[in-house]
């Protein structure tokens, strides 16, 4: 088992590699997991990888969004190198590195690429809002934002929200489309309105003391352009269309 690794990748990029050197490797959003994935689609204790009698198993820990083995939901299954596990948007697989390879490439571990079978990948891409057909023959084809589901708001590296409906409300209420908190943030602080011509306008309803800003300037109402930064209090929201 010494040369087995667990690879975690997102968007065909390897983001973490952990040596499978113990009998239980836990995966989840809580930071005390062996593999810690900070993403809201992942449960706190989502799944674990178990080693029993030289066999490797994946076990779902009653996660909210499930654990998928080669596209099918699984509770407990044996896995090997050819299998692809999907947790949220994250792809996990087992890699066996021969001793020589391990030595040669140890310095570049984080740089390798993992391939997935086409079906799993397409599903993965679709889940992420990409048009799977457009990139079918190139696993690592680079997405341009026109191929991603748009429009959307990017809050941070791993938190994005699609702008759905004609009235997209941003504010300090769980009924808003995008919940933000903070001092003097109103229940309905700003609204993104969908116009007839596929354009989007943002309307401020925040107070004088906490106005909505776009690219650093206070606004009452403004047509949004892709790349605009909406600022409300400490929050920065990137608008993409």
């Amino acid at each position: 088992m010494a040369n087995l690794f667990i690879n975690v990748s997102l968007d065909s990029k390897l983001i973490e590699r952990v040596r499978l050197d113990k009998e239980k490797i836990s995966i989840g959003r809580d930071s005390d997991n062996d593999i810690y994935i900070n993403n809201l689609a992942i449960s706190r204790y989502h799944a674990r990888i178990l080693v029993e009698n030289e066999k490797i198993f994946i076990e779902d820990l009653e996660s909210s969004n499930g654990t998928y083995l080669n596209g099918k939901k699984t509770n407990h299954s044996e896995i090997n190198e050819q299998d692809t596990i999907l947790i949220g948007k994250y792809k996990i697989n087992i890699e066996n590195k021969t001793p020589r390879e391990t030595q040669d490439s140890s310095a570049f571990l984080e740089d390798s690429t993992v391939m997935v079978d086409n079906d799993t990948r397409n599903k993965l891409l679709e889940k992420m809002g990409f048009n799977a057909n457009a990139t079918k023959d190139e696993p690592s084809a680079k997405p341009v934002y026109s191929k991603v589901k748009l429009p959307r708001i990017v809050l941070s590296d791993d938190l994005e929200v699609d702008i759905e409906g004609d009235n997209f409300v941003i504010g300090n209420s769980f009924n808003s489309n995008l919940y933000i908190d903070g001092f003097l943030i109103k229940k309905k602080h700003a609204t993104i309105l969908k116009q007839a011509n596929q354009k989007f306008t943002i309307v401020n309803s925040g107070s004088f003391f906490k106005p909505t800003k776009v690219n650093g300037t206070k606004i009452d109402q403004k047509t949004l352009i892709s790349g605009d930064i909406i600022e409300i209090g400490k929050h920065k929201l990137l608008f993409l269309s």
């Binding site: 490439s105 341009v144 590296d157 920065k236 990137l238």
Partner: protein, 262 residues
Amino acid sequence: MFFQTYSLSDIGKIRKRNEDSFLERPIKTNDNDNAVAMIVADGMGGHRAGDVASSEVIKVFENNLNNNNLGSVEELLKNSILEANSSIINMSVSKEELKGMGTTCTALIIAKKKAFIAHVGDSRAYLIRKKTIKQLTKDHTVAEHMVSFGMMSNKEAKISPKRNILMRAIGINDLLEVDTLEPINIYPNDIFVLCSDGLIEYVEEDEIKKIVCENEPDSACRKMIATANLRGGKDNITVQITKVLKDPNAGFLSNLKKMIAS
């Protein structure tokens, strides 16, 4: 002005075809001086059409360089990119299999003792001067955009999946914003390095500097590509090196020779 140039493109270890294109072309200016154009284009998307998009940019540039006496280099650069943008959009509208294709472009023209650079996308231009390397272009990626607004740190951007999502590319939108850099005064021994992101993914800035400073342009290109391939080579890799040489007809010694000869 005199230059030593070299360009090399490699398919990498994973991809089935090379969608990068490049142009390396000496230009004669109207005052009979030497000038040079170096261009990298990294094509993407569509159904096997990334290479169609990247080679279209090169074609447009070649055509415009043939029919231009280098009046305004900045306009030539910008207009060529805009022309390629319309041309690629027209192509993708007319043929189903070309739909959705796009390309980056980073173009360098050195003329009139200045370096002119225009770019769209995430192919980069670096300048190595006096053993320091400086990135001249700014990637048009979502990650870089977030960095510039303080939503992400440089360190996070290097590993974020958003470093691979472009904010802009040629052939996607009618309204294309082209970044044209302020012209740079050039000096002998300046070295410009242009590359596609297949290199940047694996080779750090300081390594590029080291390889380029310690090798002739041709072997430097080969070494950088070999390094990227050794570390995974998951994308096509293109590298171009342009070295500004000392003018053999200038300087004290040659003036002295001229004086003696006369």
